[in-house]
């Protein structure tokens, strides 16, 4: 139970995804399961795809038709609760927020973790986005097999040198 462990149920996770046809294009998956006073996802989206109403405690909702999968909301969300997923030739291409140093390198193979913190599959870093305007949250592009679409959420942290 998420209230006790921090891990959402399969049903909760599924409720954040559009259907697989929609996912042929990259879409933001917002996992913000409980009302908190917060709205940078809404205000950061240049395409007006995310809505948090006047009462900023209401959970964000997304219009997948408007979402281009650009990933801007991903590094603006203070809860690190958003990722972008896309299905491509049997693989998932995901964009995830990452706030650890050292950053992985493009082309590197990393361990991909599920929401319980277990390693589930190796994945390939296809791009690392990290510019000044991203406010110290990097965007990692990771490729994994489609079977892990609903499980993958982050990558294992590399330990820095002392």
């Amino acid at each position: 139970m998420i209230e006790k462990t921090g891990v959402p149920s399969a049903k909760q996770i599924a409720s954040c995804f559009p259907d697989k046809i929609t996912l042929k294009k990259p879409k933001a998956i917002i996992e913000c399961y409980k009302e908190i006073p917060c709205n940078p996802c809404d205000t950061s989206c240049p395409f007006d795809a995310i809505t948090v109403p006047e009462d900023i405690n209401v959970r964000p909702s997304i219009d997948f038709d408007k979402c281009t999968g650009c990933g801007i909301c991903v590094y603006h969300c203070p809860g690190l609760a958003i990722s972008v997923m896309q299905l491509k030739d049997g693989m998932v291409s995901m964009k995830i927020p990452y706030e650890f140093t050292p950053l992985p390198n493009q082309g590197e193979t990393v361990n991909v973790m599920n929401r319980a913190g277990d390693i589930i599959t190796p994945g390939t870093i296809t791009k690392v986005q990290h510019t000044d305007k991203m406010n110290k949250t990097a965007l990692l592009h990771v490729e994994i097999p489609e079977a892990y679409l609903y499980d993958a959420i982050t990558v294992e942290v590399k330990h820095g040198s002392e």
């Binding site: 209230e3 006790k4 891990v7 006073p37 009462d55 203070p78 820095g160």
Partner: protein, 360 residues
């Protein structure tokens, strides 16, 4: 004795915002803080903040702090006294503070108290062993001084502070063995909890520390399951290998100075303990003495900024300054505060403020 028009004690978000409002209307302000820098708790907050754009959401705490510092520094009517701890306050608004060994006094026409809060501790055997830390101290070590508190941490408390400090420990490459919580569910935002769980930190509810184990410093912790009455259950003990026990079990407003001054105080559990009795405009029971920020009830930096502004405005008014659009400004701030305090996480604050008789 030195004199000032308005003395502000504490240069966190509440104090700095009160200063800004007072300076804006032409008041003369002295800002005093025991630390060597401005910013209060924000000096150690490297994470992105929640809230809405107006409250700088998505910016990092330290960057918000810099914005507030830039707003007031070099103002000709502002005097800043750092490294100065206020130790005494009297009804005639004379305030005593120490710098090093030196005792000083200053008299003010108005005093805004924004001294924040102190961290609570929980009782368990050996809780005075080196290696038992409060979360704020751990955060200061890491984020202000760049020092790791240890190698393996047991975190106690699942409020936002426990969850955030856990994440920051992981960022500093320190292992967090487990996070335990005495209540039956996670206290802080679930997004913060998910953030650490997916990195492998287990969260266990209904658990507390029985004792710290070690001769000269923490070598392990014994934890146990709690029953519904929060009593430890014999036979459920578990030994956790760790060299740090980090307590994030809540904050209590620093009201001693106000008590010393004879201000009316009330115990409100939801606000963190003893809090000054204030009116909607943050006036205490003593004339021209105000309280805001965490000191008036434990909340957040965003709300501290707003209560600081409201306080600055009412002090300005009481000091006889013309405050343009006072009613509209205060109404807008109250509305923003109400928005923040709405929702399930604001429930406690709302109840506390009701008990105090203010729902500003």
């Amino acid at each position: 004795m030195k004199t000032t028009e308005c003395l502000i004690v504490g240069a966190g978000p509440a104090g700095m915002r009160a200063a800004k409002r007072l300076l804006d209307v032409g008041a003369e302000v002295t800002l005093i803080d025991r630390s060597d820098m401005l910013g209060g708790q924000l000096t150690k907050q490297t994470h992105m903040f929640f809230g809405s754009e107006k409250q700088h959401a998505s910016k990092r705490g330290i960057d918000i702090m810099q914005l507030m510092i830039d707003e007031i520094t070099n103002h000709p009517k502002l005097t800043v006294i750092n490294n100065a701890t206020v130790v005494a306050m009297y009804k005639d608004r004379v305030v005593g503070y120490v710098i090093g060994e030196q005792y000083h006094r200053i008299q003010a026409k108005a005093i805004v108290l924004a001294a924040g809060a102190s961290e609570k501790a929980i009782p368990f055997e050996n809780n005075d062993l080196p290696g038992v830390y409060a979360a704020g101290a751990v955060q200061t070590l890491m984020n202000v001084y760049g020092v790791k508190p240890g190698h393996k941490v047991l975190m106690v408390g699942s409020g936002n502070i426990g969850l955030i400090v856990t994440y920051q420990l992981l960022q500093a490459d320190v292992e967090v063995v487990k996070l335990i919580e005495a209540a039956d569910s996670i206290g802080g935002y679930l997004v913060h909890a998910s953030k650490i769980k997916r990195l492998g930190v287990d969260i266990e509810t209904n658990m507390s520390v029985k004792r710290a184990i070690g001769k000269d410093e923490v070598e392990a912790a014994e934890i146990w399951r709690l029953d519904e009455a929060w009593q430890g259950i014999e036979g459920t003990e578990e030994i956790i290998d760790c060299d740090v026990i980090c307590m994030a079990v809540g904050l209590a407003p620093l009201t001693e100075l106000l008590q010393q001054m004879g201000a009316k105080i009330m115990y409100v559990r939801e606000l963190g303990g003893n809090v000054p009795i204030i009116d909607k405009d943050h006036r205490t029971s003593i004339e021209r003495v105000y309280a805001c920020g965490d000191m008036a009830g434990i909340e957040e930096a965003s709300s501290a900024m707003m209560t600081g502004e409201i306080t600055g405005l009412s002090a300005a008014l009481d000091l006889g300054h013309a405050v343009e659009n006072y009613d509209q400004e205060v109404a807008r701030l109250r509305q923003e505060l109400a928005n923040l305090r709405d929702g399930p996480h604001g429930e406690k604050i709302r109840q506390g403020l009701k008990k105090l008789g203010v729902l500003s």
